[in-house]
Symmetry: C2
Subunit: 325 residues, 2 copies
């Protein structure tokens, strides 16, 4: 690739996480599906928050986590996402910029508050996410700086953006700008329910636009509506140029045409909170990819980053990931 | 004591902590004294925050931490403190009420923002605190509900309140109401610099109003301006009715007239962040005291709670303290 100011440009829903421990009974009482991400409105967010235990707040958002991970590896990152000019918006911006990621999207000065994700971590370390999109719904094409897009080796986006119609248009603008500049584009399927909402659009993107796909087992099974990982993997191989497929403790498999690379998961002493595992896998993979590493090494770096993130509460790295290489 | 709706009423500066890791060089560059609490204005708070690494936000405030600890032991608590009607004020109120503590102080709807404490945790697990008092300066006598004061076995306050002149008056009103109702009052000296600012007032309080004093080694040495713990302890014994004196890994000593009880520190596998150690010691002690435990057992419960809090980042318990008894 030609030289680039940024390794990765991320576009995502800019969200502050509110993380609390909960038991299975709490999920049942509030009709929550363990392991999923559910979109909620403001009233529901307030009701659920009032019922939750004490929390900690930290910047999150799937793609924001990935970009913090890229920076933690030593990569050069930029981010586009929408917050409001409120306290949590200030927190989000500070935390991302403090990792070294460039983040200049104008903050909304009216409209809904900065997005929050109420995350309930059950004793089995699983996370159940309830997202109030708030200001994220204000992300639009005007926020896409095509100069920045053209300056990044890879533009990476989250499938979750499809939940905000204007954001989807912004992504498509960015994808076109990236390709026009000879750059690559990448997407994560985000979660199986998200795939269920936008299956046809995502498959169309894979066939026609996406250079690197990220998805986990349940997401690609949902994408192709098949019952086994193997079937889903083969279907993905037919449509995606490069696909990095994660399988939790079974590690990951990268497919590229006829090539297949299976890499074991990183070692974890104790799984504390799985929030962000996929986000950080993408961080490690993209850092490796934009630094010319072979696909199997990209997958290994993804696994290392995922292992770090699930060993503690929260979806941003606690230690410098470059130290793990 | 006669029956009481609350075991402990806490009055304190209602603060949200912003916790970040930092190295010694960062402290040096910004003129910070390791282990201390420094008051900062809004401009300084913004400058320091901009320079800090990514953080996590969680409710704090010395007395707020203590009350969360009392509740975590299963005690009945109430809290009086001032936040604004902003997002961080909402976080503070939610987190305290979610522990079961009663908290009804009206939120300010104008004036400065909810207080923040920028906490830098160095690799040696020490914390250095920078507090922007914000809305806390609006706490005043009108916020003291004497019915609540009269309904609590012990009214417990933090010495830090002396930094907000109206808050000091509020405390004195509460102390008088507590004694008028036949209840007890208790204070923590907060930190040695705070003692330095209000030495004479604190000593006067000890002689004339306070029933239970909390202080650590450096605080009581500062209080009596003596060089050794033993001298300070003996001086404290002369003035305080009951004093619970903490000495970090050396445990704590309780003195009451001629009685002395030395209790070892709770066991800790690894000290991660000392923020809140004193706050949680007070929680355990006061829970024990209001449940009729002997002084040595009160000190043991304090040590258990302190050990839990320093084993992780943050100053609110991660596990139910009643499970440690």
């Amino acid at each position: 690739m030609t030289s680039a100011a940024f390794d990765v440009l991320g576009i995502g829903n800019a969200i502050v996480d509110v993380i609390s421990r909960a038991d299975e009974a709490f999920l049942g009482r509030h009709g929550l599906v363990k392991g999923s991400m559910m979109l909620i409105d403001e009233a529901r967010a307030e009701t659920l928050y009032a019922a939750m235990g004490p929390g900690i707040e930290m910047s999150g958002g799937s793609c924001g986590n990935t970009m913090a991970g890229v920076a933690s590896f030593g990569g050069k990152g930029a981010y586009i996402g929408k917050v409001r000019d409120d306290q949590l918006g200030g927190v989000f911006g500070h935390d991302l910029k403090a990792t070294g990621v460039s983040f200049d999207t104008p903050r909304a000065n009216s409209g809904p508050a900065t997005a929050r994700c109420l995350i309930l971590v059950t004793p089995d370390a699983q996370r159940t996410m309830n997202t109030y999109l708030g200001a994220c719904t204000g992300l639009g094409s005007a926020d896409i700086d095509t100069t920045v897009v053209g300056a990044a080796q890879v533009t990476y986006v989250e499938g979750y953006l499809w939940d905000a119609p204007e954001a989807k248009k912004a992504v498509l603008k960015a994808f076109d700008a990236a390709h026009a500049a000879g750059r690559l584009v990448s997407i994560t399927l985000s979660d199986s329910f998200c795939v269920d909402r936008y299956r046809d659009e995502f498959r169309d993107l894979l066939r026609n636009k996406v250079d690197i796909l990220f998805g986990n087992e349940s997401e690609i099974k949902s994408l192709y509506q098949v019952g086994t990982f193997e079937e889903a993997m083969e279907a993905t191989r037919q449509e995606a140029k490069i696909a990095a497929l994660t399988r939790s403790e079974k590690g990951s498999i990268v497919v590229k045409g006829g090539e297949t690379y299976a890499v074991p998961a990183g070692a974890v002493a104790k799984v504390v909170d799985t929030t962000g595992a996929g986000d950080l896998y993408a961080a490690g993979f993209l850092f490796g990819y934009t630094h010319g590493k072979p696909l199997a090494e990209c997958a290994r770096l993804g696994g290392l980053a995922a292992a770090e993130i699930i060993s503690h509460v929260g979806a941003r790295p606690e230690q410098a990931l470059r130290g793990l290489i």
